[in-house]
Each structure stands twice: as structure tokens, then as C-alpha cells.
Amino acid sequence: MRLWKSWIVTQKDLSVIRKNKYVFYSLMALPAILGVVLPVTFVLALNTEYTSLSPDQFTIAATQLINISATYLILISAVLPSIIASYSFVGEKVEKSLEPLLATPTTDGELLLGKSLAAFIPCLGVTYLAAAISASILDVWSYVRIGTLLVPNLFWIIGVAVITPLACIMSVEANVIVSSRVNDIRAAQQLGGLVVLPIIALLILVTVGAQLSTLLSVLVTVVLVVADVTLFYLSKETFQREEILTKWK
């Protein structure tokens, strides 16, 4: 596997993504809503209600909000690849650019890695940008209220640094598989988007019981690692040039 070859494919795909306004705005919208607007709304809505709380009570209540916001970041990283990856693979088919691409001296693995990175990098980048803004908002709030920075806590660190990239990888791989079975971009996005369902389940669990968060995050990490490895092999099996040329219609 020649990583530099994969990187050429990644750079090209990133250029295409940058020039596609629909993809670019879609990529920015979700993090802006879940990563920025939502924490601001939380803070504004709950600020008055939390005024009567002692510092300890405030810390417990705010921690639950912080954990929920971390789960939203995981959700963002799982949703965004369905926008980019579906363009990345089905888009090539729609533009009929796969045949000349597959005729180059590049292996299936190099192409797969290059295209996966092109979906992974911007998704993770945008998610981390949203995480930084979201953390700043919550920290300003907690500092003003109790003189302490509550972000990052352990769940937030595990959620953003470990679970977010794993969820993003899972989503990219799932989208590779979906792309090989559908004909158009919208169908790829809709089916690829189903990968967020387990993350939504996680969000509900975190919302109802913050004290389970750390244990839950370790469990989710293990599940995601297993899912990533399994999907990697499945996507490698799916991404074969003959299959692509003769069956991607």
C-alpha cells in the first residue's frame, strides 16, 4: 500500500468537495446547529433556572449538559460522512469518472483509503471545530457561575478524542458499503445515514442517566472498535474494481 497514492486521491476529492457548495454548506450546517446553537440555547434557557443551585448542584447539572453536548458531537461525526462519502463514491459513478480512475496504476486498497480519508478528514475537522466552540461556550458559562472550567471532563475527553473518530470511521466504512449497492447520491445518503441510529440510542441513554456515562463510553468504544474492524473488511470486499464497473449502475 503506497500511502502517497492514497493521498493524491484524497487531495483531489477534497478539492472537489471544496468546490461543491451543496456539500460545503451541508458540512457546515450540522456542526453549527448541534455544536454552537444548541449549547448557547442550553445556557440561555437554563441559566436562570440554575441560579438557585449551589456550586456542587450546578456542577452535577452542568456535567449532564456537557455529556449530552459531547454525545451530539459524536452524532455529528457519524452523520457528516453520509454527506461526503456518498458523493465521494456514488459521485464518481454519477460523473462516470470511475473507469479512467480504475485504469490508473493504483490498487483497490489505495483508492479505498484515499477516498475514505477524503470523507474522514473534513468530517472530523469540522466536528473538532464544533467541539472547540461548544467547549468554550460551556466553559465560559461554568467559569462565570462557579469559577471552574468543567470542560473537558473524562466523558467529554473519551467521547471527543476516542469515540468521535471511531464513529466517523464506522460511518465512512458503512457509506462505502452502501455506495456500492445504490445508484444515486440521495439513496446513498439516506441509507448511509442509518448508521447514526446506534449513536442516537447512546444519546438517549446519556440524557436519562449521566452517572452511567464513563462506563457507557468505554463500552461504546469497544463496540465501535469491533464495528470498525468488521466494516473495514466488509468495505474492502465490496470495493473491487470489477464489482464497481459491472454492478454499480
Binding site: 497514492k5 483531489k12 472537489v16 460523473e95 479512467p100 490508473t104 496504476p105
Partner: protein, 309 residues
């Protein structure tokens, strides 16, 4: 340069290409003619290592399409212009070519030189930074040809290079292929266009699942029925007829109005003697022409036979 032996590809119960055996010389322009679904694109895809064969053998140069490592080498020495140009519409012409140049491992300096040379040659250099989506169909086709040549491949596969182009764009592309022919590149040309095949190709293969015929365009045209020499006179007297019938090389003579229709095995060699004999017998020759079957006649006959009609 290109060798296949009993190359076969089946898709389920459908046999797209059956027992294809052919040899294409280095520097030859080989045309592949056949109707839609004849297996032309499938053959090119097998030769470009894009899809596997069901049975048989195929080699490009010293490399076999069977072996994955060889396939990587094959992809380095071939250029492919697929039926659909497949350019990235949101990228500029230059960026499209640069991307493929990198994938073909062309060093940066050489890559820049090749892009400039090809785009200048095709008259697109001034618009190199324009998005491909803004170009006409013909210009896109030219860029796709430049893409296939960016790494100076030894073998070029062109799948319907002038399909859907207006006459002017088609002529530009054909002229460019003629220039490539002068560079002694091996060119494998899939086409429906008989006139194009006749003008560009050294040899033509007619495919209908199976290879029906392979020969030079001239020999194919002669294969349907013998060429006839037609002598136009201001009048045909008995002396002229006797003189012509007395020539051993003339196999048959037919008279139609003031024309003599002669069946001669080797017109290039024998026509001067025929002309001398007619003039010697007092005939006044206005002009001499040739009646031969066209490539279209041959193609249609062979395809009908292959289809069992």
C-alpha cells in the same frame, strides 16, 4: 504488443466475448468494429485489467492480465479513453490532467511539460484554468484524450472517441489520432464509424461476440467480391470487344451502355495493358474507374452472417 488467445468473458449465461484470438503489432492502429453489445468495450476492459476474463489468455507487451502485479505494470503502459469521458466537472482542465499525471507517477517537471504540450496541441491551453463543466462536449473529449496520453503510454485504448461529437470536433479528434499514429503508438480503436476506421486503421477486426474477420480495410473491401475495372468509351466497336476478350488476364467482359466492365485479378498490374489493347483496337477511352465493395458492404454482410440472418 497486444496478444489474446481464446479470450472469453461471460456474464452469467451471456457470453459477451467468445474465444477472441488476435495479435496487434507495436505501432499499429487496430480498429475494432461491431454493433452495440458486440463485446468491444468488454474486450478493452479485460485488456486494461479492469475486469477479469472467464477463460483464455491476454497479454499487453510482456505482461499478463492474469497477474495482479502485471496488471499494475499494464496500467502504467496503457492509456484509456473510455466511452464516457468521466472528467471532474468541478475541477479545471489543468487540475484534471495533473491529478491523473500524479496517479500515473509522472515526475512533476515532466507532468507540467506534458500537460502544456497536450493542451496547446489541442488548443485548450488558454482555457486551462476553466472548470471542465464549462466546456463543450468536443472539448471535454479532447481533454479526456489528453488525460489518456499524460503519461506517454505505449498502448492507447480509445473507446468510441468521436461518438456524439459534431463533425468539426470529430475531425479534430481524428486528426489528433492521425498525429499519434505518426508517433508510432499502438492504438486500439473501438468504433461504430466505418469511415473513421477505414481512414485511421492499419487493420480492422469485426466483432460480434466472436471475431468475424480481421484484415486491412482494403483487403476486407476486396473480400466481398472481386474488384471490377470500368472503362468508359465514346463507343464500343467489335474490334475493341475482340481485343479485350483476347487478353488472358481479363476473366470476364460485360458491356453496359458505353462502358466495358472487366473482371481482372490484379488491376494495378494489368490495367495498363488493357488500356493499350483498347486504344490499339481504335477505342477512344474517356476515363477508367474501379468498382469495389465498400467497408460498409463487408461489415453489414459479415455482421448479418454472424447474427444468422
Amino acid at each position: 504488443m497486444i496478444d489474446t488467445e481464446n479470450l472469453t468473458r461471460k456474464f452469467g449465461s451471456l457470453t459477451a466475448v467468445e474465444n477472441l484470438s488476435l495479435h496487434v503489432e507495436e505501432g499499429e492502429v487496430f480498429g475494432f468494429l461491431g454493433p452495440n453489445g458486440a463485446g468491444k468495450t468488454t474486450t478493452v476492459r479485460m485488456l486494461c485489467c479492469l475486469i477479469s476474463k472467464t477463460s483464455g489468455q491476454a497479454r499487453i507487451g510482456n505482461f499478463s492480465v492474469d497477474n495482479e502485479q502485471d496488471c499494475l505494470e499494464i496500467r502504467k503502459i496503457i492509456g484509456l479513453l473510455p466511452e464516457n469521458v468521466g472528467l471532474y466537472e468541478n475541477l479545471s482542465a489543468y487540475r484534471n490532467l495533473d491529478f491523473y499525471g500524479k496517479l500515473y507517477e509522472v515526475p512533476e517537471q515532466k507532468r507540467q511539460e506534458n500537460i502544456e504540450r497536450l493542451l496547446r496541441l489541442l488548443g485548450i491551453w488558454e482555457r486551462r484554468e476553466d472548470m471542465v463543466g464549462t466546456f463543450s462536449k468536443g472539448t471535454k473529449q479532447k481533454i479526456a484524450i489528453a488525460r489518456a496520453l499524460i503519461h506517454e503510454p505505449q498502448v492507447l485504448f480509445l473507446d468510441e472517441p468521436t461518438a456524439n461529437l459534431d463533425p468539426e470536433a470529430a475531425k479534430t479528434v481524428r486528426d489528433f489520432i492521425l498525429d499519434l499514429k505518426k508517433e508510432k503508438r499502438t492504438i486500439f480503436l473501438n468504433t461504430h464509424n466505418l469511415d473513421e476506421a477505414e481512414r485511421l486503421c492499419d487493420r480492422i477486426g469485426i466483432l460480434k461476440g466472436k471475431l468475424v474477420a480481421v484484415d486491412s480495410p482494403k483487403n476486407l473491401e476486396r473480400s466481398l467480391y472481386n474488384r471490377k475495372t470500368i472503362v468508359h468509351l465514346d463507343g464500343i466497336g467489335d474490334a475493341v470487344l475482340v481485343a479485350v476478350k483476347g487478353l488472358g488476364m481479363v476473366k470476364s467482359v460485360r458491356v453496359s451502355d458505353n462502358k466495358l466492365i472487366l473482371d481482372i485479378d490484379n488491376p494495378e498490374r494489368d490495367n495498363p495493358e488493357v488500356v493499350r489493347a483498347i486504344v490499339g483496337a481504335g477505342g477512344n477511352i474517356q476515363y477508367v474507374t474501379e468498382l469495389r465493395s465498400t467497408l460498409e458492404d463487408v461489415y453489414l454482410k459479415l455482421i448479418r452472417e454472424a447474427s444468422g440472418q
